[in-house]
């Protein structure tokens, strides 16, 4: 049981425990940060596996993503530290069943799968090799994925912008009224969306 094994077991335990706590906690901000801890533990495991760049990139990306998620939680629920208790889970039975199924499937793959034993050769410059791979053989995949992501981001910003072709989005998106200045024509009756007792 070397130090690396111990570090792996510790990080794995942290990842599993904090992942479980995400669904048992009573505040959305805590849920975001517990998920962050889980991801950070996985990133640490990647460092142990020798994927130096990927591990640190996981720290970086997950920190930004969870931070934005936590901020959105606060925006939609200005509820510092969860003083208002709330039930965080929906459709528990289906989710639990799906979770168990996924665990069994992945566990079967992990236990019964034949993983090749290919230790990293000594003196391999991981970062340089990764760089050559990204901009060499796999350039098409990564560049097209990058451009697609950029297009997605620009599309989201454009779609959420208020200004449309027909003026302000709130006015341009509904048909004009039957009388000048009247209610928009042909709108279905407004029914209150029912709160199902959760956040």
């Amino acid at each position: 049981m070397t130090a690396v094994d111990l570090a792996f077991l510790l990080n794995a335990a942290i990842a599993v425990y904090s992942g479980w706590r995400v669904f048992r906690t009573d505040s959305m901000v805590r849920a975001s940060f517990l998920l962050l801890i889980s991801f950070l533990a996985v990133g640490a495991i990647m460092l142990l596996l020798g994927a130096v760049y990927l591990g640190v990139a996981i720290f970086f990306m997950m920190a930004v993503e969870m931070m934005i998620m936590a901020l959105f939680m606060v925006m939609f629920m200005m509820n510092p530290a969860g003083l208002n208790p709330m039930n965080m889970v929906h459709q528990e039975r289906i989710s639990a069943a799906a979770g168990v199924l996924a665990f069994v499937a992945l566990g079967a793959v992990a236990v019964f799968g034949e993983f090749p034993s290919r230790p990293k050769p000594e003196g391999l410059d991981v970062v340089a090799r990764l760089g050559h791979e990204l901009l060499g053989d796999s350039m098409l995949v990564f560049e097209s994925a990058g451009v697609t992501l950029l297009a997605t981001m620009i599309g989201v910003v454009v779609m959420s912008s208020r200004r449309g072709r027909y003026g302000d989005a709130n006015e341009g998106s509904v048909p004009p009224g039957l009388e000048p200045g009247g209610e928009p024509a042909g709108q279905p009756p407004d029914d209150d969306d029912e709160e199902h007792g959760c956040h």
Binding site: L83, N84, H199
Partner: protein, 420 residues
């Protein structure tokens, strides 16, 4: 641990000020005392300094503030009557120079354990009984809203910027927060850090007119004295705005300059320095625009900055002889008002220098242009904090605080009604 306590005794004493009537200039002078550290929050203070008279309607808030300092703490009273629960062991002092010593002794006695702190004045219970429909006291819609333990819980409302249904944050602030004028308390509703609603729950404490301006209403007074008082007042207000926008060092040096101010002094160095570091682009500079009728209600430098030519000094021939012409018209935002303070202060110093050498005295006693605005016998500038309800919604927090600091909201007390 004795050596640690003795080392801690050498540190400046953390004090939180509860500023009452007419105490603001002295509080600013105390900022220059190296034995005191003025904390921004009551939680970090060991000493509560109550300076100036506290009006009866604000005394419950003072009791709550007293309990907000972490125990053990000691309260010092300057020109103020101690609260009912503390009267027997209250530390009252009159001489402003003694504060450093008294605070140091009080803090030392707390650190070395010689003295117990003061007891809490409010009972340790929630402000209102449990209220709500749900099992956990929640009410409103589903799991949100309601008032568990009397504290309003979050409930969605349309954000005023783009109609998205987000959560407003509602809380009240004041009346003893040094960022706001002394005595101003407000209930705020925020969307994110943008202010959506302001309701003034307590107006700022009325300020007493400085003696030299009061005398000017009855008989001629030396113009130099009037103008020096005006320059000092404007520079003090400017230093508060500077402190708020993060220029703490510069703000302290301005206060030091105010103490040693002489006629014919020049503040062009200060103006140049502020321009170079970008103070006129700091938080709130281009915001906080007041309409002409609001400017009319405010009077004083804010009105002149917005372009209204209201200056009682124009009717005084003595001022005209000294070459006085009213300055103003820079604009109606915070930047214009800061610039107006600087311009008026430098003009006042210039006038004071010329008046000192020629011995000029005022000759017009019908109305006097006090730093706050036009003052006539029987007609004093009224409290103007009501304009904040129209002015602040839509402003981001730092812009709103800068706007409040750039306006002179407190009314002037009528000395005939009896002062504290």
């Amino acid at each position: 641990m004795n050596w640690l306590a003795r080392l801690a005794c050498r540190a400046p004493v953390p004090v939180y000020p509860a500023i009452g009537r007419n105490a603001l200039p002295q509080i600013q002078d105390w900022r220059l005392d190296a034995r005191l550290q003025w904390t921004r929050s009551p939680r970090q203070a060991r000493i509560l300094l109550v300076a100036g008279d506290i009006l009866p309607e604000c005394r419950p808030a003072l009791r709550r503030l007293h309990d907000q300092l972490p125990a053990p703490s000691i309260t010092l009273w300057w020109r103020s009557t101690p609260l009912a629960g503390l009267a027997d062991r209250a530390v009252v002092f009159e001489d402003a120079d003694e504060l450093g010593t008294i605070a140091g002794d009080a803090c030392r006695s707390l650190l070395l354990g010689d003295r117990q702190g003061e007891p809490n004045l409010c009972p340790d219970e929630p402000p209102a009984p449990f209220e709500g429909r749900g099992d956990h006291g929640q009410g409103g819609e589903g799991m949100m809203g309601g008032k568990p333990y009397g504290r309003p819980m979050a409930m969605t409302a349309e954000d005023l910027r783009d109609g998205l249904e987000l959560d407003p944050l509602e809380f009240s602030i004041g009346p003893f927060w040094p960022v706001l004028p002394p005595g101003l308390a407000a209930r705020l509703v925020l969307h994110g850090d943008v202010i959506a609603e302001v309701e003034i729950t307590s107006a700022p404490f009325p300020v007493d007119l400085q003696p030299v301006f009061e005398q000017a209403l009855e008989r001629p007074v030396p113009i130099a004295d009037l103008e020096m008082a005006r320059a000092r007042n404007h520079l003090r207000q400017l230093s508060h705005s500077m402190w708020l926008s993060g220029l703490e060092s510069a703000s302290l040096s301005v206060l030091r300059q105010v103490q040693a101010l002489q006629p014919h002094d020049s503040i062009s160095g200060l103006c140049e320095r502020l321009r170079r570091v970008g103070f006129f682009f700091s938080a709130g500079a281009g915001r906080g625009e007041i309409s002409l009728e609001q400017a009319e209600r405010l009077g004083g430098p804010a009105a002149r900055a917005a372009g209204l030519e209201q200056d009682a000094r124009t009717r005084d021939p003595e001022y005209r002889k000294l070459g006085f012409r009213p300055v103003g018209g820079r604009g109606n935002d915070c930047r214009a008002r800061w610039q107006q303070w600087l311009d008026e202060a430098s003009q006042a110093l210039h006038l004071a220098g010329r008046a000192r050498s020629s011995g000029a005295e005022t000759s017009y006693t019908e109305s006097v242009e006090a730093p706050r605005g036009n003052v006539q016998c029987g007609r004093y500038p009224a409290d103007a904090s009501a304009i904040l309800s129209e002015l602040l919604p839509g402003l981001e927090w730092s812009e709103a605080m800068a706007t409040i600091a750039s306006l002179d909201l407190a009314g002037v007390a009528d000395p005939g009604e009896g002062r504290a």
